[in-house]
């Protein structure tokens, strides 16, 4: 087990290293942050000063080496734009994104699992067909359009929910969270639903496919023949066996929601990390891009690890040590 964990950690470090090189070279290839940040009033002397202030006057390899040596001490640099440590900036924005991503994932499970189960158990009923048709819409409608439609209907036309922003926040663990206040929850409802739509559809389809497959298995037939109640057959024997693909996909989806909820965040003016990263890319704020992508790599590796650990809980046949 510990060997396994150690190996995963080394993998993580290597991937993060590769990521930092890619970002350095990528930003260098795209252009010059100073050209974007500088004011139109600036003359050549001011431009030279800004380039030196941001450390961009040194050759790229030198910039990278000094970044590496600082990174080993836990300092991923300061944002060119905000002059604040990049990690601190990301940390300030993280709660907003995390609560949105978890909200969406919880919605996906709470809504998707029961609907998928229903559709799988009565595949030919009208209800199941409606659910499946709805899930196709959930897959195919573009997020930014759905987001704007939600705003137009629920905020502009009906006036039930606030259109944008995070609303009131409450402090918890030293960070600000919206889900702890009623006003915050009202603000969260639409963006979370918007993010969840795709995931709900995904969970519905996975669950339905799993249920249909499992219902035909010998052990289900045997359980029924043994005279177990339908609730026990479905709730324990079927349910447990369809969870593995669902857990995998939900886990990975959670990661990509946290990392790339850019569209939803900008439509709903939700001040999370997605907005930070897209703004940073637009102005080539390299320290933030590097720090962000490295954190995301780390997060994906941790999520994969947790998913693997969950497998071994859900399915006793999976043993982590035996994995190559």
């Amino acid at each position: 087990m510990s060997v396994y964990l150690l190996r995963r950690l080394i993998q993580a470090a290597l991937v993060m290293l590769a990521m930092s090189v890619i970002v350095f070279v990528g930003v260098y290839a795209i252009g010059d942050p100073v050209e974007i940040l500088i004011s139109p009033d600036a003359d050549q002397a001011e431009k030279a000063r800004a380039i030196a202030a941001l450390g961009l006057d040194k050759p790229l390899w030198e910039q990278y080496l000094s970044f590496l040596s600082n990174a080993l001490r836990g300092d991923l640099g300061r944002s060119f734009v905000f002059n604040e440590p990049a990690l601190q900036l990301i940390g300030q924005r993280a709660p907003a994104t995390l609560e949105l991503a978890f909200g969406a994932t919880i919605l996906a499970i709470l809504v998707g699992l029961p609907l998928g189960l229903y559709a799988g158990l009565r595949p030919n009923g009208a209800g199941a067909k409606a659910i499946m048709a709805g899930s196709i819409l959930g897959f195919s409608l573009p997020t930014f359009w759905v987001g704007l439609m939600l705003i137009m209907v629920f905020a502009v036309q009906l006036g039930w929910l606030p259109s944008t922003g995070r609303g009131e926040t409450a402090e918890f663990l030293g960070m600000r969270w919206s889900f702890l206040t009623w006003d915050g929850l009202r603000h969260m409802a639409m963006p979370a639903l918007n993010l969840a739509l795709f995931k709900i559809s995904l969970v519905i389809r996975l669950t339905r496919a799993g249920v249909r497959e499992t219902m035909l298995m010998d052990y289900v037939k045997f359980a029924r023949a043994k005279g177990l109640s339908p609730q026990r057959v479905i709730g324990v024997h079927v349910f447990k066996n369809i969870l593995i693909p669902v857990v995998t996909v939900v886990g990975l989806e959670l990661g990509s929601t946290i990392a790339f909820s850019v569209v939803t965040e900008s439509v709903f003016a939700w001040p999370g990390m997605g907005k930070l990263i897209i703004d940073s890319i637009n102005v080539l704020d390299r320290p933030v891009i590097v720090a962000y992508l490295m954190s995301i790599v780390l997060m994906f590796i941790v999520i994969n690890l947790v998913v693997d650990l969950l497998y071994s809980v859900l399915d006793p046949r999976v043993r982590l040590e035996s994995k190559g």
Binding site: D32, E46, N83, L89, A155, R166, A269, K275
Partner: protein, 525 residues
């Protein structure tokens, strides 16, 4: 008696009602503020917020005319000395008094803000020494006569020596150091999300209408409009042109607008000599041309005549722009009255091209950003089409700003669309865009087409040390006129700045694009 009582009740009622709804103003702006430090990042959204918290020696009105700020008057007292008389009895938000020492401290801080990506040092560089004559008199000594000093001071927000001596940018962002003399105090700042302000009741100037201002950043255009329509915010800036006609007809919404100071223009390749190839120009078969047609003024004029400014303004911009023939709009000092926007004349353009030796035209690529200026990607497409009609077969390439601006800065392009947000003085575009590139003088820093005209340079040089305002303006306008006749760049239009608010509010539109809380108030009778 009864009538009188009734009148009093009504008056009281209106007053109370007014007070109840007029407490908080929620504004939503389209561009994020990056810092509360007024000297950290020279950027319009930051300047707008700084204008709420801090004051300048010289303020500007909505049309960028200079008006007294923390200085009540200023004058030249020697060839290289400006004297500013300061406003008495002004206090910072924390009670500290404003004196000449604070001005000296502020000027000294400008070039010394660590890690600033775009500092305000350009405004302190001409100043060699700040002399504190008495607590309410300050003198600026310059190396040369410097007529633009008061104009420079409209960009410098004054800090307090006692409060800010050791304050870093982080302290401003944490609000504790965001202490100025301005009409509003900063209450909280959440990066990328919102800033909360409370009125400074001890303000020396006109008292703002709203006690609290909630300043939100909503970068998505459609969401910003929706937030206004949903009633979540009272006021938005950067109204997207696609929503304009809808909002104009919406009874819940009022608009405020003014012609801005941002010119959208085409820069042309003047870097390659007349007998060299320009990077994106070939003959009609795609072979090198062996010469740079853009060095011929007839070609440049023909290209300018082949831009249908009226159509661009009416159809692409929904009327939210004015066709332009020069950098500045009518009504500001740097506008040359006798230079008109070039008329759309494809026939004349074709004749000029033939005269210049290109009866069959040539091929060219027009570059531009597609996410920077209003409708930029569509404007270059429209121009590409009308150019192709006169025989200049134009390929159009729109790119994201971060990629485009680097290429433009390296002068890699033949023709490119770009914008310039000016201050109202003609010396500003002259010095930065039209003057020959000269790092030592700090000229031509944004002259990406590398235009160079000795006559323009000479007039600019003379104007920069001319203290007689009338003579200086003549030099500046002459230089602008020469550059316009020489088609140094091809001006397209000047954007109109538009704000939208719920009906019942009034806003003093500003041509410098700044969205500030003190400019909004309930519409009076």
């Amino acid at each position: 008696m009864k009538k009188l009582l009734l009148g009093a009740t009504v008056a009281l009622g209106t007053l109370a009602g007014g007070a109840a709804w007029a407490q908080t103003l929620t504004m939503a702006v389209g561009a994020p503020v990056t810092s509360l430090d007024p000297h950290y990042h020279q950027l319009s959204p930051n300047n707008a917020v700084s204008d709420m918290i801090f004051d300048k020696l010289v303020n500007t009105d909505g049309q960028s005319r200079m008006i007294p700020g923390l200085a009540t008057e200023w004058r030249v007292v020697g060839p290289t000395v400006w004297e500013f008389k300061l406003r008495p009895d002004v206090r910072f938000h924390n009670g500290s008094a404003f004196t000449a020492e604070d001005v000296a401290f502020t000027i000294a801080r400008l070039p010394n803000v660590p890690n600033s990506p775009a500092s305000y040092a350009v405004y302190s560089r001409p100043i060699t020494r700040v002399e504190v004559v008495d607590p309410l008199t300050v003198r600026f000594h310059t190396a040369q006569p410097y007529p633009l000093l008061p104009l420079d001071m409209t960009n410098v927000r004054i800090l307090d020596k006692e409060t800010h001596e050791r304050a870093a940018t982080e302290d401003f962002n944490a609000v504790r150091a965001a202490v100025g003399t301005g009409p509003y105090r900063a209450v909280s700042y959440r990066n990328g999300d919102r800033i909360e302000f409370a009125r400074n009741d001890a303000y020396w100037g006109p008292k703002p209408a709203y006690e609290r201002v909630n300043y939100r950043m909503i970068t998505n255009d459609a969401s910003r409009t929706a937030a206004l329509l949903a009633g979540d915010v009272d006021f938005i800036d950067q109204v997207p042109t696609t929503d304009l006609s809808k909002l104009r007809n919406d009874p819940r919404v009022a608009l405020s607008e003014t012609v801005g100071l941002r010119l959208i223009f085409l820069g042309l390749d003047h870097l390659r000599a007349a007998n060299e190839n320009s990077p994106f120009i070939t003959d009609n078969d795609g072979k090198p041309l062996g010469r740079n047609p853009l060095r011929d003024v007839r070609v440049r004029r023909a290209l300018s005549m082949a831009v249908d400014r009226q159509a661009i303004v009416e159809r692409l911009m929904e009327g939210a722009a004015t066709p332009a023939g020069q950098f500045l709009p009518p009504g500001v000092t740097g506008h040359v009255p006798d230079v008109q926007p070039t008329r759309y004349d494809p026939e004349g353009a074709r004749r000029l091209l033939a005269e210049a030796g290109y009866p069959n035209g040539f091929r060219m690529q027009l570059n531009g950003p597609n996410d920077r200026y209003i409708n930029d990607g569509r404007i270059i497409q429209a121009i590409g089409q009308t150019w192709t009609r006169i025989g200049v077969r134009t390929a159009v390439e729109g790119q994201t700003w971060s990629v485009f601006v680097g290429r433009a800065a390296r002068s890699e392009l033949s023709a490119h669309l770009i914008g310039w947000g000016s201050n109202p003085d003609g010396s500003h575009p002259l010095r930065n865009i039209l003057a020959t590139v000269n790092a030592e003088k700090g000229w031509g820093a944004s002259n990406r087409g590398r235009y160079s005209n000795p006559e323009v340079d000479r007039l600019l040089e003379a104007s920069l040390t001319e203290l007689d305002e009338e003579k200086r303006q003549k030099l500046v306008l002459d230089a602008e006129r020469i550059a316009a006749e020489d088609v140094a760049v091809i001006p397209i239009h000047i954007q109109t700045n538009i704000w939208a608010m719920r009906r019942g509010l009034r806003h003093d539109a500003r041509n410098d694009e700044l969205s500030r809380g003190q400019d909004v108030r309930p519409a009076g009778p």
